[in-house]
């Protein structure tokens, strides 16, 4: 009999909801509190919770460290990439207005904000998971007596 049965069942129910909530916080950041940074932290929390309950090996299978390493750089790449896209479209660096012709509704601004926030989200989520892997990977998983 697994001593952490309740923990496992509850966290299996909670983790998908945490991830969905993270995406909600991201894409609703224009209208309510939150944004890429907070969403990234929430997504990282989902991974960390999984690692705490099911062990590091399982977590590393679900979210491989190699992907996390790429993610830390990819987010910055997306952010700066949006800047270069606006540059090539004839605007200033990170001037989102040129991204979409509908200036009346400021659609370019909305697109730009969502994309740079995706960059922030990817970097923050990856960095938090990477730091957790770096720390937690140096100690063995807690034995059952220590719980």
């Amino acid at each position: 009999m697994n001593p952490h049965l309740i923990l496992r069942v509850v966290s299996k129910l909670l983790i998908p909801m945490i991830v969905v909530y993270g995406f909600y916080v991201h894409f609703h950041g224009d209208y309510s509190a939150g944004g890429g940074f907070q969403a990234g932290v929430i997504l990282a929390v989902a991974v960390i919770l999984y690692a705490l309950i099911f062990g590091m090996e399982e977590a590393k299978k679900a979210v491989p460290p190699a992907a996390v390493k790429i993610g830390t750089a990819l987010g910055v790449f997306i952010y700066v990439g949006v800047g270069f896209v606006t540059l090539f479209l004839g605007g200033n660096f990170l001037d989102f207005d040129v991204l979409h012709p509908d200036l009346a509704h400021k659609s370019g601004q909305h697109i730009g904000i969502i994309w740079v926030e995706i960059g922030v989200l990817v970097t923050v989520a990856s960095v938090m998971v990477a730091v957790f892997y770096a720390f937690a990977g140096r100690v063995p998983d807690m034995s059952d007596e220590e719980w």
């Binding site: 916080v25 950041g29 224009d30 309510s32 509190a33 939150g34 944004g35 890429g36 940074f37 907070q38 932290v41 929430i42 990282a44 929390v45 960390i48 705490l52 099911f54 062990g55 590091m56 090996e57 399982e58 460290p65 996390v68 390493k69 830390t72 987010g75 910055v76 952010y79 700066v80 800047g83 660096f93 990170l94 989102f96 509704h105 400021k106 601004q109 909305h110 730009g112 904000i113 740079v116 926030e117 922030v120 970097t123 923050v124 990856s126 960095v127 938090m128 990477a130 730091v131 957790f132 892997y133 770096a134 720390f135 937690a136 990977g137 140096r138 100690v139 063995p140 998983d141 807690m142």
Partner: protein, 220 residues
């Protein structure tokens, strides 16, 4: 003048923050201290909500109470569980520093703007501009996001790069937790969770626990 009842909520939260802060300082058990810092973050998040700074509160709750508590726990597992008692003499020096710093802060209190003053210096000029222009320039309701992602994209880009740089530093110093694999790990990808991985991480455990043990020996 009518009495604003929410200020008593603020006072209560500040008192609780104060109590938790004292408890963290006096706590010798590191596990309890880490947990109390999480409580401290959660209380400050509640306080930020009471001050209408919901974005800051959100970040404080997610980062302070969530991530950093877990990271502190992970870091604690690498060292001892109990703090070493500090010597008597050190307390006086700390008291002197804290008294001087506290006196300086109290001295500065009269210069602070009145609580909630919309025309205080931090709130005027550019702050008013952002509030007035966001509906026309960006057309989104959340001014914080507008300032963060559009008006000040350059700052946020730098911020993202700083977070990236921090991760690079951590990965260079600590690795990704798979340093011990070349010597110890020979097993093929093994589906058995947690307990099966223990022999593989034995080398890490030994090297990691050594400093903790010497510390414990020194104490006794």
């Amino acid at each position: 003048m009518e009495l604003d009842l929410t200020q008593f909520l603020d006072y209560a939260l500040i008192l609780m923050l104060f109590a938790v802060g004292i408890a963290v300082v006096r706590m010798r058990n590191l596990f309890a201290a880490v947990m109390l810092t999480g409580v401290y973050s959660l209380l400050s998040a509640a306080w930020f909500v009471s001050l209408d700074a919901v974005d800051v509160a959100f970040t404080e709750a997610a980062v302070g109470a969530g991530i950093s508590t877990v990271l502190m726990l992970a870091a604690m597992l690498l060292t001892a569980r109990e703090a070493e008692p500090s010597g008597r003499g050190r307390h006086w020096a700390a008291l002197a520093v804290v008294s001087v710093a506290g006196a300086a802060m109290l001295f500065a209190v009269p210069d602070m703007p009145v609580y909630g003053d919309a025309n205080s210096i931090p709130n005027s000029y550019v702050g008013h501009d952002y509030l007035e222009r966001t509906p026309d320039d960006i057309a989104i309701p959340n001014v914080v996001t507008a300032v963060l992602a559009s008006y000040r994209s350059f700052d946020t880009m730098g911020e993202t790069s700083v977070i990236f740089a921090a991760a690079v530093a951590v990965m260079l110093l600590l690795g990704m937790g798979d340093k011990a694999k070349p010597q110890g790990k020979k097993q093929a990808p093994n589906p058995a969770p947690a307990s099966a991985s223990k022999p593989a991480t034995k080398t890490t455990r030994k090297s990691a626990r050594k400093p903790a043990k010497t510390k414990a020996e020194k104490k006794s």
